[in-house]
Symmetry: C2
Subunit: 273 residues, 2 copies
């Protein structure tokens, strides 16, 4: 009897096959399904993967911006990846995701050769009880991708939890990890940037139609720091600045073990309320 090494669902979901020079093919994985279509964080990771696996790629991800242009259907898609320019220390990329020859997402990325410099973290790592002391929230019925993550909320988890009527807020902090555990890399980190429950649900204590329009992730560490993080859970913190005229923003931080800021991310979200 032989056993094959099991491929983690995230690696299956972000897998791309080369069709021709700069044109790749992928397929959504039911395990990462959202209420409608696939989980956007895994689409972001897949777009990043198109660059990561490109033979001309230099350095590590510094910035990823994804614009969700149209609803993505659970099926095959194509990604066109184009190197825009290679500088001494940065490399710029442009990506387009299509389904049935219609654009469903556009993205840009900057990769960089990171080097040691003076360093400081001015953001404050949120206080958090130990991962082991908290309960994992059960997966949400009908939202497959919630089974792909262990999420242990500190506050702002479910609808308004931890918020008192006199102090409405849109803040969430939680421990997060891939399930089954998978050593952290830029793919999983990009997806985690989009894992936060929509700010409007937290703020309004109810579920309304929402959709991310655009998200940007800034990566503050190199691959070595991610290797050290390994399968240890990361601490996520998110808040909104403003809700109004059909859209709200989200400002998020992903913290690694020992108060290392791994990534910050931002998004703007459509809502109907």
């Amino acid at each position: 009897m032989t056993s094959q090494p099991e491929i983690h669902p995230l690696d299956q979901a972000t897998r791309l096959v080369q069709l021709s020079d700069g044109l790749l093919s992928g397929h959504t994985l039911p395990a990462y399904g959202n209420m409608v279509g696939p989980f956007g964080g895994v689409i972001a990771a897949t777009l990043l993967n198109a660059v990561l696996r490109h033979p001309d790629r230099q350095g590590a991800p510094l910035v990823l911006t994804v614009n969700f242009v149209a609803p993505i259907t659970a099926k095959e898609f194509q990604i066109q990846v184009q190197p825009v320019r290679t500088n001494r220390s940065t490399q710029h990329w442009s990506m387009t995701l299509t389904q049935d020859e219609a654009v469903a997402a556009t993205a840009t990325a900057v990769f960089a050769n990171r080097r040691d410099t003076w360093s400081a973290t001015d953001a404050k790592c949120p206080d958090a009880p130990a991962w082991e002391s908290l309960d994992c929230v059960p997966p949400v019925e009908g939202i497959a991708f919630t089974r792909c993550y262990e999420m242990r909320y500190i506050h702002g988890g479910t609808l308004g939890e931890g918020s008192s009527p006199g102090d409405p807020h849109s803040r969430t902090s939680l421990w997060m990890r891939d399930s089954p555990p998978r050593p952290l890399d830029f793919l999983s980190l990009a997806a985690l940037c989009d894992l936060f429950i929509p700010r409007l649900f937290v703020r309004r204590k109810r579920i309304v139609p929402i959709g991310t329009v655009s998200m940007t992730a800034y990566f503050h560490v190199d691959g070595h720091a991610l290797q050290i993080q390994g399968t240890h859970p990361v601490l996520g913190f998110a808040r909104a600045s403003h809700f109004g005229k059909g859209y709200h923003d989200q400002v998020a931080e992903i913290w690694g073990t020992g108060g290392i800021l791994l990534a910050t991310s931002h998004q703007i979200v459509y809502f109907k309320e």
Copy 2:
């Protein structure tokens, strides 16, 4: 004797001439020169203007992302503007700025038909003394664009001002306005998003080589709110989350009169230190 209405320098700097369908030509304006090349904020505004003046444009700017791919030279440039997709409430755009046929900047924008919805501001407008009670900082010798803005710092203005040795920080708050005054619109608001002194200068109390790699602005209001703001100064607040491995981020807010959050913006900046 007749007098022609004077064209504001920002309108001159962001002016575009159509060369062919989707291809525009512009020219940097010496008034908005930076230490090397043009002020990035005005480049961002010019890229946004390529969409604003497009005959197929619908709605108002919601998101603008600009990637600074290579140094921009003070001379003519071309912008290719491409409508990616028009949905019922959003419209996606892609822009490329070239000089001598080499890409110098890429950008994406999402425009939206904003409608009245439930609204709330969770970010806290920073306390600030009245604009009239503060001194305008003098323009910086050799940095032309600093003459194009009235900047009245509350703290974190010049090198480490307002920061004590025991409390190093990267926060700046200031009143800002175009000089000469110009009614606020999306062009000037986009440029203001990039007006903050680099976070590293504030944090390290010295000037080192820096350059914005990528910036994103989220617009939280429609054109009507900008009309009401008019030529009143806006309040800017910026901070950094992390400095390290050659890059640092910036998180910024632009507040209008009466504590209205006009825009939030984010950028990642290269530094040599």
